[in-house]
């Protein structure tokens, strides 16, 4: 009888059971260990508590004095990694999966994403000379997260790519969010100007050849 792989697997693994005697032995072992832990002398627990308080206090002081530095280093590394990956994809210019200048057709095409590709207010303003020249899109990834690559341009020399993926702070760290009035990060990778921001809860990254006259927040690499 055919079942979904998931259901068949669940049923199979559910049949794999520890024999009752083994289960009882393990439970007995756990119970015994729990009782032993509870019998530890109270003085030991008090000393341990005191040591923990000293450690926590020292940690908080260190954190307060060095608050921004470690987070900034980690975030700089993440931004650099995103920029490198996006620049590499931009330079490769792999064939598009879909050729279209109709954004709604693009949205219909990307059915394998966990999000809906969206127009970007920032991109439309900052890349206004190409934003109306949508060429098409392809699937790609950013830091192993499935993403959409949208390509814009009116000629070979002025291609701009816009990458979108779901913004997960745990994966990408804190990045500037347009809806909170923050400005995109600007950095450079492989000769390209990279902008990184969060908009509509999507991580958006644009890459293009340097254009004069843009003044945005920059990050030193």
């Amino acid at each position: 009888m055919k079942q979904s792989l998931q259901q068949a697997s669940q049923d199979f693994f559910a049949e794999q059971q520890l024999p009752a005697k083994k289960l009882q032995a393990l439970q007995a072992q756990i119970q015994a260990a729990t009782l032993d832990n509870k019998k530890q002398p109270s003085i030991y627990r008090h000393n341990l508590l005191a040591a923990c308080l000293v450690f926590i206090t020292a940690g908080l002081i260190s954190l307060w004095t060095l608050q921004s530095t470690p987070n900034l280093i980690t975030q700089q590394k993440m931004v650099a990694a995103i920029a490198d990956e996006v620049a590499k994809n931009h330079i490769k210019m792999k064939p598009l999966d879909i050729n279209s200048n109709d954004f709604s057709k693009m949205q219909e095409y990307f059915t394998q994403l966990d999000f809906l590709p969206s127009t970007s207010q920032h991109f439309n303003q900052s890349a206004s000379q190409v934003a109306d020249h949508l060429l098409g899109g392809r699937y790609c990834s950013i830091r192993s997260m499935t993403a959409a690559q949208l390509r814009f341009g009116d000629n070979e020399q002025h291609r701009t790519t816009l990458y979108q993926t779901e913004y997960l702070p745990d994966v990408f760290g804190e990045l500037p969010t347009l809806e909170q009035g923050q400005v995109p990060l600007v950095t450079y990778a492989k000769g390209l100007r990279i902008e990184i921001w969060v908009e509509k809860q999507l991580l958006m990254v644009s890459s293009r050849q340097e254009l004069p006259g843009s003044a945005k927040q920059t990050i030193d690499r």
């Binding site: 055919k2 068949a8 669940q10 794999q16 520890l18 393990l26 832990n37 394998q112 192993s144 997960l168």
Partner: protein
């Protein structure tokens, strides 16, 4: 602490790695002993206790394989094909009596992701977080799993060069 259901689930995870009841029992026993030797505060306070113990099981499995000079988790080629996400497996079907045969064709890494996807109902990202591997690696393993299921369902269409353990 741990109830019977939680212990059985940990045993099933051990079985997914070893595919042998005896080895799985030993693996679980050793892992529980290691867990019990941790300070009591660690045992109680770890937010995701089951995930923590699975990590101990996993590390123990790797140690055991190393001792037996076996590879615990086969590395993947950088050019391996991947699924776009774990939902691509939702439509796969299999004869219920074929799962055992399927496990024989999977390596330990593939069995592990099958268990986490099917039994724990994790997404690719959640699996990636737990086993500390890139999401792309997880999706590659799921792709191989999918191909092997397709092969089981239709052996005549199997291309020997496509998938290997």
């Amino acid at each position: 602490m741990l109830n019977d259901q939680q212990l059985q689930r940990l045993y099933q995870y051990s079985f997914s790695l070893t595919t042998n009841a005896h080895d799985a029992q030993d693996l679980l026993q050793t892992a529980i002993e290691k867990w019990l030797r941790k300070p009591a505060s660690t045992q109680q306070s770890v937010q995701h206790q089951q995930a923590y113990i699975r990590q101990i099981i996993r590390n123990q499995f790797i140690d055991d394989c190393r001792r037996q000079q076996r590879i615990a988790f086969d590395p993947l080629d950088a050019t391996e094909p991947t699924l776009f996400d774990s939902r691509s497996l939702d439509d796969l079907v299999i004869d219920s009596d074929q799962v055992s045969k399927l496990l024989q064709h999977l390596n330990s890494a593939e069995r592990e992701v099958l268990f986490m996807w099917a039994v724990l109902e994790y997404s690719a990202q959640e699996i990636s977080n737990e086993i500390d591997q890139p999401r792309g690696t997880v999706l590659s393993r799921l792709y191989r799993l999918k191909e092997k299921v397709k092969h089981l369902n239709n052996p005549d269409s199997y291309n020997a060069s496509e998938v290997s353990s």
